[in-house]
């Protein structure tokens, strides 16, 4: 188990190094960082001062090393729009995003997992067909279309709920539903196929054949095994708590990280984009790491340090 944990930690560390390197390379490729971070109309002395301060006159590898130093001390540059620190700008948007993504995550889990399990247990029943239709619809209807349709129905036609903004909890209802339904559909589809896969295994037949009650077979033999692949997608959902609402936030003019990212991209506010990119990657890598470690707990066979099943 120790070896397993160390391998996973190492892989996460390597991935973080790759992400930071990617940000460094892309930032250097896209032009003079001093000019970009200071803004086009910054006075030349300020740009030069910035260059010396950030060591941009040093050789590239020295810059690379000090870039790492800066990142890990939380120094991610300033927004070129209002001159505030990028990291502060991003951090103050996070609560708004979590106010959407956390309730949406509950909807996904509470709706998606039971729906998937039931669909698999009652395969080819009317319930199964309904779940699959829901799953296909959730996959094929993009979130911005679903969001706008909900606005058209509940805000424009019925006038029950506000169409956008963040004044009260009622403003959160439509975006949370939009996020939740899409995710629940994906999770239901995934859980169903994981469950079907397990139910077809010989050990399930063995357990039933030796007279174990079906209820117990499902609870003790099928569910724990089906949980293993399902954990991956749930981990992914945890990892995207910060960045998972880019489109939906834009549909509902919700002032979260996603909306900040879209405006930053449109304005080419690179410090902010870079900050969000790194933050999202760190969250995702941490979530993936936790998933990997959970795999080890859930499935003793994987503790040998072998790669995760190639699925």
């Amino acid at each position: 188990m120790l070896r397993f944990t160390i391998t996973r930690l190492l892989r996460a560390a390597i991935t973080i190094v790759m992400v930071v390197t990617f940000a460094f390379v892309v930032l250097r490729l896209s032009g003079d960082p001093a000019q970009i971070i200071m803004g086009a109309d910054a006075p030349p002395e300020a740009v030069d001062a910035f260059r010396t301060a950030w060591g941009l006159d040093e050789p590239l590898w020295v810059q690379y090393v000090s870039y790492f130093g800066a990142i890990f001390s939380g120094d991610l540059g300033r927004s070129m729009r209002d001159g505030r620190e990028a990291i502060v700008l991003v951090l103050e948007r996070i609560p708004a995003t979590l106010a959407l993504t956390v309730p949406a995550l509950f909807i996904k889990l509470a709706l998606g997992i039971p729906a998937g399990i039931l669909a698999a247990l009652y395969r080819n029943s009317a319930l199964d067909r309904a779940v699959m239709m829901f799953a296909v619809a959730g996959f094929t209807i993009p979130s911005f279309v679903l969001g706008l349709l909900l606005v058209l129905l509940f805000a424009v036609q019925l006038g029950w709920l506000p169409s956008g903004g963040q004044e009260s909890w009622r403003h959160a209802i439509l975006p949370v539903i939009t996020l939740g339904i899409g995710g629940a559909a994906a999770l239901a589809r995934f859980t169903r196929s994981a469950m079907l896969e397990v139910l077809g295994q010989p050990y399930i037949r063995t357990a039933s054949a030796k007279g174990v009650a079906w209820r117990r077979v499902v609870a003790n033999h099928a569910l724990p095994n089906a949980a293993i692949p399902t954990v991956t997608i749930i981990g992914f959902m945890f990892g995207s708590l910060i960045a998972g609402a880019v489109v939906v936030e834009s549909v509902f003019s919700w002032p979260g990280v996603g909306r900040l990212l879209v405006t930053a991209v449109a304005n080419r506010d690179l410090a902010v984009v870079q900050c969000i990119l790194l933050l999202v990657a760190m969250t995702m890598i941490t979530a993936n790491l936790v998933v990997d470690l959970l795999y080890g707990v859930l499935d003793p066979r994987l503790r040998g340090g072998a790669r995760k099943a190639e699925a």
Partner: protein, 292 residues
């Protein structure tokens, strides 16, 4: 499943392999994709107006079924541009991008997968580290970051979307190529003196092509959704060019007064992704028993 094959064997009956028509939903999918392809190919011929042509006297005209006239069957937008014509050209743009990006992704991923399978060792670890890297950033965020750093052009946009799902092809190609190399036919052509390019290009690739094609069919709707999502955010296809997501994005301003501007492209997006996924699932079941 258990009984049917046994009775067949017992009766000595030949295996029943009738050519069956695909299920109705898949037929619909094929029909719809065919229609979309025809529309994209014939856009210049069938489009009633140029997609930029203004008709300022008929701004926000409703479609035929909502009290409009046949001058503009699907109505017009805020500048009096014909929604049907814009829809036709949007279908063309979105399909070209989705096809281009899917092919780029498949080629890139397959090549990297083959390289990993051929050289193993360091190369394989490097490719697998890249796979880890792309799993660490949600693709939408990565795409937005690249667009912010490099600005936007049509070519960059297609290449960027091509990066979507490359790791899926890479993993499939690597796994299948490793197992194919261990099989007789790959060894045989190698013994005959074929170089790696020939072995992979002419012998292994055709043998794993069906799996790759299925993956492409399953990735294609995702690319359409990504393109339309980015264009909806105003960061994908830039005006005056128009795409399906782009139309929804601009139509959103007129959600209350002229919902048809937005609904027409939304319906096309949903039906197209639905159709391609249905075809993809069906193909997977037919061509690729290993993937179930």
């Amino acid at each position: 499943m258990p009984e049917a094959p046994m009775t067949d064997v017992a009766l000595g009956a030949p295996p029943a392999r009738r050519r069956e028509l695909p299920p109705p939903l898949v037929m619909f999918g094929l029909f719809w994709v065919g229609l979309m392809l025809a529309v994209a190919l014939l856009a210049d011929v069938i489009s009633p107006y140029a997609y930029t042509a203004l008709d300022l006297r008929n701004r926000l005209a409703p479609p035929v079924f909502a009290g409009g006239d046949w001058l503009h069957p699907l109505g017009t937008d805020e500048l009096g541009r014909d929604v049907l014509s814009r829809l036709i050209y949007s279908i063309r743009t979105s399909l070209i991008i989705a096809f281009g990006a899917t092919i780029v992704g498949a080629m890139l991923g397959t090549t990297l997968g083959f390289l990993a399978a051929h050289f193993r060792g360091v190369v394989e670890n490097a490719v697998m580290a890249l796979v880890d890297f792309s799993a660490s950033i949600p693709f939408l965020i990565l795409a937005l970051a690249v667009l912010a750093f490099f600005g936007n052009s049509m070519l960059l946009f297609v290449l960027l979307l091509g990066l979507h799902a490359w790791e899926r092809y890479a993993r499939i190609a690597r796994g299948l190529a490793i197992s194919a190399s261990a099989q007789g036919y790959a060894g045989a052509v190698r013994q005959l003196g074929a170089g790696p390019l020939r072995v992979y290009g002419r012998h292994i690739l055709p043998n794993i092509a069906s799996t790759l094609i299925v993956s492409m069919t399953l990735a294609f709707p995702e690319v359409i959704l990504l393109e339309s999502g980015l264009s909806f955010l105003g960061l994908g296809v830039q005006p005056p060019a128009t795409s399906l997501g782009n139309m929804v994005g601009f139509g959103r301003e007129y959600l209350t007064r002229a919902p048809w501007i937005l609904l027409a492209p939304a319906v096309v997006i949903v039906l197209t992704t639905l159709s391609v996924s249905l075809i993809g699932d069906w193909l997977r079941d037919r061509l690729d028993p290993t993937l179930r």
